[in-house]
Symmetry: C5
Subunit: 104 residues, 5 copies
């Protein structure tokens, strides 16, 4: 799974029937290990993910990709290859806290 920031949303009137009512969020994969100031933005293109946990803009989340993106309660059997399955509270690396949500 990878880290991403929720940076926006996507609206599609015409879409596969099974996805009607699903929130499509714009997410940007980020490298949390370098700290937010040093360049969380810009690791690859933004992706579109279905939200399975009620994430909001600006939150750091975890993405699951591929067939496993269909294993959340929200996405089962859907044509979905990217889902938000967790909102990150904190990340510890080499014994140091590199991200804590409440510090935002």
């Amino acid at each position: 799974m990878i880290f991403a920031l929720v940076i926006g949303n996507v609206v599609c009137t015409r879409k596969e029937e099974r996805l009607v009512g699903r929130k499509l969020l714009l997410v940007q994969p980020v490298d949390v290990s370098v700290g937010k100031a040093a360049g969380w933005e810009g690791k690859g293109l933004p992706l579109v993910a279905v939200d399975a946990v009620g994430a909001g803009e600006g939150e750091l989340v975890l993405l699951v990709q591929g067939s496993s993106a269909r294993q959340t309660q929200v996405t089962e059997g859907h044509p979905v290859d990217c889902a938000i399955f967790a909102i990150v509270d904190s990340v510890e690396r080499d014994g140091k806290l590199v991200f804590r949500k409440s510090e935002e």
Copy 2:
């Protein structure tokens, strides 16, 4: 899922039986976050996708890849790893509209 522009189509007389009658579209993955003028073209090679929603040339669409591409009503059980499952109306990033279909 990723963004792509529909840029053409592909004709194949000889193909897997289950795909007879399916429209194969030429699609170009794009980075919508930089705005269309700044270089939507050219993020990687063009792909071939099966259309599940009636997309037309020039439209911005969402692609689903891998096994999830077989979860649309049009592609179930087909040898297909890329499908168009939505036509994009608008994209909002950091609170700003970066794409709206009617502005085209």
Copy 3:
């Protein structure tokens, strides 16, 4: 799905039992949008694909990858992650024909 040229073949006496009798072709992914003269060769490493439609050397084909490569009548249940499912007749981009088989 992606475009590839059939450039050769691979012979393996010792292989998974389910693949005995299957033709393994050497294929080179290509960028059809730039025209054949401008460099169809060399987009990434050559791959090995199982042929599901009777493709021949020199033909432009479509590859399906991942689990979807097992959805042809030839590859069901096989340890195969890349299959040729169509032979390309023509490709149109931005209203212009960029490839036609008979022009070869």
Copy 4:
């Protein structure tokens, strides 16, 4: 499967129900063939993996990705695309030992 070092952990209070109680580890893919001193760090972004074998920080592990990450006893049916399925004791390359755990 690929090699990675366990470098930290991730805490998420809000997450898909099926993952409650699962340990999420921060792992860094590494190139073991060049020896640890020469630069095990930094081959791509860190990933988040579910631990299926009780791995600890600083250990060299093997990651399985994609749908196969759901084939451990800990991850079956979970929205998980990356799992630790083995702790590496030793790696031999061209007849030479390039890694042994007890040498750490």
Copy 5:
């Protein structure tokens, strides 16, 4: 599927139960089209593969990746995303033999 050289092996005492007794080989993806002398080594990081055909060190093999790696008789239902399913005897490209096993 892709080509790789078997370059070593990996020993793991602690691993997912279903993999106990399975040989884990160190494999290096290679570009066979350029000839062995010109640089078969070094196309990406080495991977770890489960051997389904009795491959030995120094042999050129074919790897199947993703969920299809679980379709050999040795790997069914295992947390495995890379398997050796064939040992290469010869490769022909553009009508020329670029690899023959007995010439080694």
